[in-house]
């Protein structure tokens, strides 16, 4: 160091207020031992990132899996009571009770006859909504678009011999010619039916829709609220959950939640151990600084404060950096596995931040309380 610079430094030091010494020591400690500080910071960042990603996933995975479960189709069904029909405005009532998240599909049924006298069930529905509700498990070759297009169940297609040719059906003397554009395969009752659009169905048979299949989104509680609301606004109808669907969903979701919770705890614990061991090494590596400061007259409390502040700063910086990386990872996992982004939860940040600082503090205090018992002279002598 040249002398003019030394004097400049001396002047600056003299002019600076006393507290700046504390900050200076914090800053210089980080800069001068870049390697060790960086590795401690890295450990902190990675741990915070993993913790953030896990917490984000834990919160979001329920919603994501629930979305997958909604592909099972309707979880609530509204049917007309015996001998009654549903009021004309049922569908509007249902849709307004559901809000934007749900799907409601009307179905009307009648037994029609083929020209050779065989019975077949014809169903009228809203194809667009039906595709939204059941599209993932109805195996359909082509959805009807034009008028008089029909979707024919796989079994019905064989029995009717309706392979691409238009066929006639009659109901109470009125007959209709349908054009089979696609076949439907489900492995259940749908296979034996012929589906036409609801408007054409009503025009032909004069039978109104008798069933509304509903896919209500949200948790089990949300679904039962919807059922209650519908039951109140539709006194003439029978509203019930499709237990097959709702119970299976609750079962699997519960198990996944617990598995994920255990996994998150284990992973966060491991990450915490990683941070703890790196930081402990970092602090005990600096026992000579500690001894020197003590020898120069620093009190035990000041020293503890110094190391604690250093650790807390490291923990906070690491946690914030790790949080942003972790959110990125969570978003990526959402895209890669569920094909939908995981919404970053800012509520996780205080948790990660507090956790990071606490772990850093524990890691700093532990070696210092060990060192406090040792005479500075012993350390400075290098033993």
């Amino acid at each position: 160091m040249s002398s003019p610079e030394t004097s400049r430094v001396a002047r600056r030091r003299a002019a600076a207020p006393h507290t700046s010494m504390f900050l200076r020591m914090l800053w210089r400690a980080a800069v001068l031992r870049r390697g060790r500080a960086a590795s401690a910071l890295l450990a902190m960042v990675v741990a915070a990132a993993v913790a953030t990603a896990m917490l984000n996933l834990y919160v979001d995975v329920q919603a994501k899996l629930r979305r997958e479960f909604r592909k099972y189709g309707a979880n609530v069904v509204v049917v007309a009571r015996d001998g009654q029909s549903l009021p004309d405005d049922t569908l509007t009532t249902v849709r307004s009770a559901l809000g934007s998240g749900g799907i409601a599909v009307p179905f009307a049924y009648a037994v029609a006859r083929t020209p050779d006298g065989r019975s077949v069930v014809v169903a009228g529905t809203d194809f667009q909504q039906a595709q939204k509700l059941n599209g993932s498990w109805w195996s359909v070759t082509a959805w009807p678009k034009a008028s008089h297009d029909a979707l024919v169940g796989a079994h019905a297609a064989v029995v009717l011999g309706a392979a691409g040719k238009p066929f006639d059906l009659s109901f109470q003397g009125r007959s209709i010619r349908l054009n089979p554009v696609g076949t439907l395969q489900t492995g259940a009752a749908e296979d034996s039916r012929v589906y036409v659009s609801l408007a054409e169905f009503v025009e032909w048979t004069h039978v109104p829709y008798s069933t509304v299949e509903i896919s209500a989104s949200g948790s089990a509680d949300d679904v039962s609220t919807v059922i209650q609301r519908l039951g109140q606004s539709l006194p003439g109808a029978d509203v019930h959950p499709v237990r097959q669907v709702t119970e299976g969903e609750a079962n699997v979701l519960g198990k996944m939640r617990s598995t994920l919770l255990v996994a998150s705890i284990l992973i966060i614990l491991t990450a915490a151990v990683c941070v703890l061991s790196t930081l402990t090494g970092w602090v005990s590596d600096r026992r000579r600084d500690f001894a020197l400061m003590k020898a120069l007259g620093a009190s035990g409390r000041l020293l503890q404060g110094f190391f604690a502040a250093e650790a807390a700063a490291l923990g906070a910086i690491g946690a914030i950096l790790g949080f942003s990386i972790g959110v990125g990872v969570a978003i990526w996992i959402g895209q890669a596995n569920f094909h939908a982004p995981v919404t970053p939860r800012l509520s996780v940040l205080p948790l990660v931040l507090a956790g990071g600082i606490v772990i850093a503090l524990i890691a700093a205090i532990l070696p210092i309380s060990l060192l406090r018992r040792v005479q500075p002279a012993t350390i400075l002598r290098g033993e």
């Binding site: 590795s39 990675v46 741990a47 993993v50 896990m54 995975v61 994501k64 899996l65 997958e68 479960f69 592909k71 099972y72 049917v79 049924y109 037994v111 065989r118 019975s119 077949v120 069930v121 993932s136 498990w137 195996s139 079994h155 029995v159 395969q185 489900t186 492995g187 259940a188 009752a189 034996s192 008798s210 029978d238 019930h240 959950p241 237990r243 097959q244 119970e247 299976g248 079962n251 699997v252 198990k255 996944m256 617990s258 598995t259 994920l260 255990v262 996994a263 284990l266 992973i267 614990l269 491991t270 151990v273 990683c274 061991s277 090494g281 000579r288 996992i333 890669a336 569920f338 290098g382």
Partner: protein, 418 residues
């Protein structure tokens, strides 16, 4: 001399070695538990998804159309073909018999209750024991339709008691224990059945009773089969007829819904087996999502474990710079020092890794018990893999620190200048 150095290092630095060992143990334990859970979760969730009920249905090959609206079948009972009840046990003789969780035959019959009301009477197994060869197997709707709830008691399969659907019971104003007259004979109502499906409007009876009322002994209209399957992929959807013999064997021996359906068709004469797409297809999607998620979580666990292990190793090596300086001052070469450290790391990784594996296996068992209420099996193959990973990670973790320690000038190291 080398062995003595190694031995003394472990003997004299018990505390430090223990700390590093604990970190390795924890890391390996978490990794083992997560790998074990992730490899087994497909099977576990698949069994949980069986709550959705049967995923396969077997019907007669030449059947007329079902004329069914809202659970009321308008098809004349004389119409259509039947399967033979005597063929049912053969399902347990199939290649994938262990994947069959249960099956339930169904025979609907139309009867008139007092007041000329037409009601469907559904004959089925509740929990009947079926014998195939030396195997004894209990099956029926209680396994295939787990969401069916009974208020009262389930009827015995060999009794003439029945279950009344809850809507029907409310309409007829009957409670469990009362009698109801069916086809000219009184039958005891064992319980009230609630399913949230068409059965709420029906009477469910033991299969033999339905056969008697229908006058068709041994007849079954359809069989619901609940099987643990593998998510469908492009290979599963291929037509078995167009496959080469090897591919056919591979397809036949994979538990796809398609191949199990194919085998059901082989086992039961004149039948047509098909997957119930609502259950089977969605099960596949849910399963593959969960498996993907667990894979990612396992990777995260491995990453965290690797970091924990390497961090503690690095700390342990840096603390021993003085020792390195002394060894070098006494004439040890860089290689000798590095070999000693790596040997120590290997020994530590193997010991702690084995302990961690045991701990992880216990943890996985605990997870299996408390979450899935069943065993999670740990493949023995996992042990060498986990140990190899532990050694590798320990090496990688200590490599940087060892290099720095070796490069250090012994003079500075001994003086204690870092």
């Amino acid at each position: 001399m080398f062995l003595r150095l190694l031995y003394e290092s472990f003997r004299r630095q018990k505390r430090r070695k223990l700390l590093a060992g604990i970190a390795i143990m924890l890391g390996v334990g978490v990794a083992t538990a997560m790998i074990a859970v992730a490899t087994d979760i497909g099977d576990k969730i698949s069994r949980e998804l069986r709550t959705y009920g049967a995923n396969l249905i077997v019907t007669p090959q030449e059947d007329t159309l079902d004329v069914e609206i809202g659970g009321v079948n308008l098809k004349p009972p004389s119409d259509g073909a039947y399967l033979n009840e005597a063929d049912l046990p053969k399902i347990k003789g199939m290649f994938w018999r262990n994947n069959i969780v249960g099956f339930a035959p169904m025979l609907p019959a139309s009867i008139t209750l007092g007041g000329a009301r037409n009601v469907t009477l559904l004959g089925t197994y509740f929990a009947r024991s079926v014998v195939f060869g030396k195997q004894d197997f209990v099956t029926g709707v209680r396994t295939t339709h787990p969401w069916w709830k009974v208020q009262g008691a389930w009827p015995e399969d060999n009794s003439e008691d029945i279950l009344l659907g809850d809507h029907l019971a409310a309409k007829l104003n009957r409670t469990p224990g009362q009698d109801i007259e069916l086809a000219g004979r009184p039958h005891r109502i064992a319980g009230i059945l609630s399913t949230g499906g068409p059965e709420d409007y029906e009477i469910v009876a033991p299969l033999a009773l339905a056969q008697e009322i229908l006058g068709k002994p041994g007849a079954v209209r359809r069989i619901y089969v609940s099987a643990v399957t593998k998510p469908e992929d492009a290979f599963a959807r291929r037509d078995p007829k167009s496959m080469s013999p090897e591919m056919y064997d591979r397809w036949y021996c994979s538990p796809y819904a398609q191949s199990i359906a194919f085998q059901l068709q082989e086992a039961i004469p004149h039948s047509h087996a098909e997957q119930i797409r609502q259950v089977a297809q969605n099960e596949g999607t849910v399963l593959s999502r969960i498996q993907g998620l667990m894979l990612l979580i396992t990777l995260a666990a491995l990453l965290a474990s690797a970091l924990a292990v390497s961090a503690s190793m690095a700390t342990a090596v840096v603390e021993r710079r003085g020792e390195v300086g002394l060894m070098k001052a006494l004439g040890a070469g860089n290689l000798a020092v590095a070999v000693l450290f790596f040997a120590e790391a290997t020994l530590l990784a193997l010991l702690a890794g084995a302990a961690g594996f045991a701990g992880g296996a216990l943890l996985a068992r605990q997870i299996g018990h408390s979450i899935f209420a069943s065993q999670i099996t740990i493949q023995p193959v996992l042990l060498p893999i986990i140990l190899a990973i532990a050694v590798l990670v320990t090496f990688a973790g200590s490599a940087v620190a060892i290099r720095r320690a070796v490069k250090f000038d012994p003079v500075y190291a001994l003086r204690g200048d870092a």
